[in-house]
Subunit: 212 residues, 2 copies
DNA sequence: CGCGGCGAGTGACACCCGTCACGAGCTGGA
DNA sequence: TCCAGCTCGTGACGGGTGTCACTCGCCGCG
């Protein structure tokens, strides 16, 4: 309050925006630029361009979507933390899956906001992240704790990811370089761990819980 | 130009926004309100609230997403055309599936824009729709014409929709009140028409082509 | 009237899938 | 050292799945 060393408008917070949908990207820029203490200095539409643009534009906070071509927001977060020191990351994504939250925080994100949150809270989240605080959707945080850890092994995850498309066991076995019987065993154990009856249901529920 | 009966600022175009993601909704509102000749008069997050809010707020143009709870944007379009005369509809959606475009236009939409389009073009699309013109993403329009009509029968579509979740034939047969053998026949013919090998692949490709 | 097309169903066949039991190799911890 | 857990594989069983041929009734058309 009385400390003149923390000006709000003299040095606005510099924001980098990354979202694959140009319309959403531009709209978020308009929203954030309405705030006098925020300024959008760069926009990108691909995950693999984030680091380069961040180097040249020097943002304070990077606002990253997860679903992006090239590299997803979580990979981009890890790259930023490694190659662009000092920058903070706020993940803004459509799906509030507990596994996403865990992996985003592990990758070094400072905040995690779903696109269901009211628009006026986004600017405040950016300010909190810039101040060094953590911002996490509270409902999602409790769900993540209640959900427990991922019970699937690496192989089970790999096979489930291939099973989403709906191909036959032979095609999955060919893609992951395993025997058909082994693939069926992994699928069977994944079906058991997810409490489902078919491989497709198993893949869908595992995806919803962020286990992939 | 010389016609004073079409003022641009005296009577700004009144816009209703419908999108299930609050953040995107608010951001689009910020974007459109930057234009002096546009004003966002209402925002809704569910498809089944569109008609009521349109009645009370009196918009000129309704900007509808397709993926919404309650009723999707295409249903909402049909209801608007029927119950709120004079209002025009512009569909703004994530997925540029040819079937969506066709069904949206059949329902009475005046425009169809995907969220990949640049942000600055959205306001222009709203103005064109308000002026009585049609606005259709050109790439999508050609793809829709090339794709040809929907080859699936009603029953095949119904069975495919149920098959997306991945359940067994018995559960599908119970939900659609058909024999198991009949369900398998419809699935088989749908698999043939989509050029796939399994029911899940058939359901996915049919969905991508907008055949459901 | 016959004819074809479509919806709905039945039956049969080969194949695929989910499950279980079992074995071998490998790694890390008590 | 033994034990536990993960990986990868094989073999077999029962049931589910995809395909085909065929039937029956209904409707519209020439």
């Amino acid at each position: 309050m009385t400390d003149s060393r923390i000006p709000t408008s003299a040095h606005p917070i510099r924001v980098l925006l990354a979202d694959d949908q140009a319309l959403v990207r531009g709209a978020l820029a308009a929203l954030l630029n309405l705030e006098p203490d925020l300024t959008v200095v760069a926009e990108v539409g691909r995950g693999d361009e984030v680091v380069d643009v961040a180097r040249s534009s020097g943002p304070d906070v990077c606002l990253l979507d997860i679903e992006m071509p090239g590299a997803d927001g979580i990979e981009a977060t890890a790259q930023l933390r490694e190659q662009v020191p000092g920058v903070r990351v706020l993940i803004v994504t459509t799906f509030g899956r507990p596994g996403y939250l865990r992996r985003a925080l592990d990758a070094g994100a400072s905040g995690f906001v779903v696109k269901d949150t009211p628009a006026r809270e986004l600017a405040e989240a950016v300010r909190r992240v810039h101040a060094g605080l953590r911002v996490v959707d509270p409902a999602l945080a409790t769900e993540s704790l209640l959900g427990g850890p991922n019970p699937l092994t690496d192989r089970e995850r790999q096979v489930l990811r291939e099973a989403i498309a709906g191909g036959t066991v032979s095609s999955i076995a060919a893609r992951v370089h395993l025997s058909q019987g082994t693939v069926r065993n992994y699928l069977s154990s994944a079906i058991g761990k997810t409490g489902t009856a078919t491989r497709v249901e198993a893949a869908r529920t595992a995806q919803e819980r962020g286990w992939l």
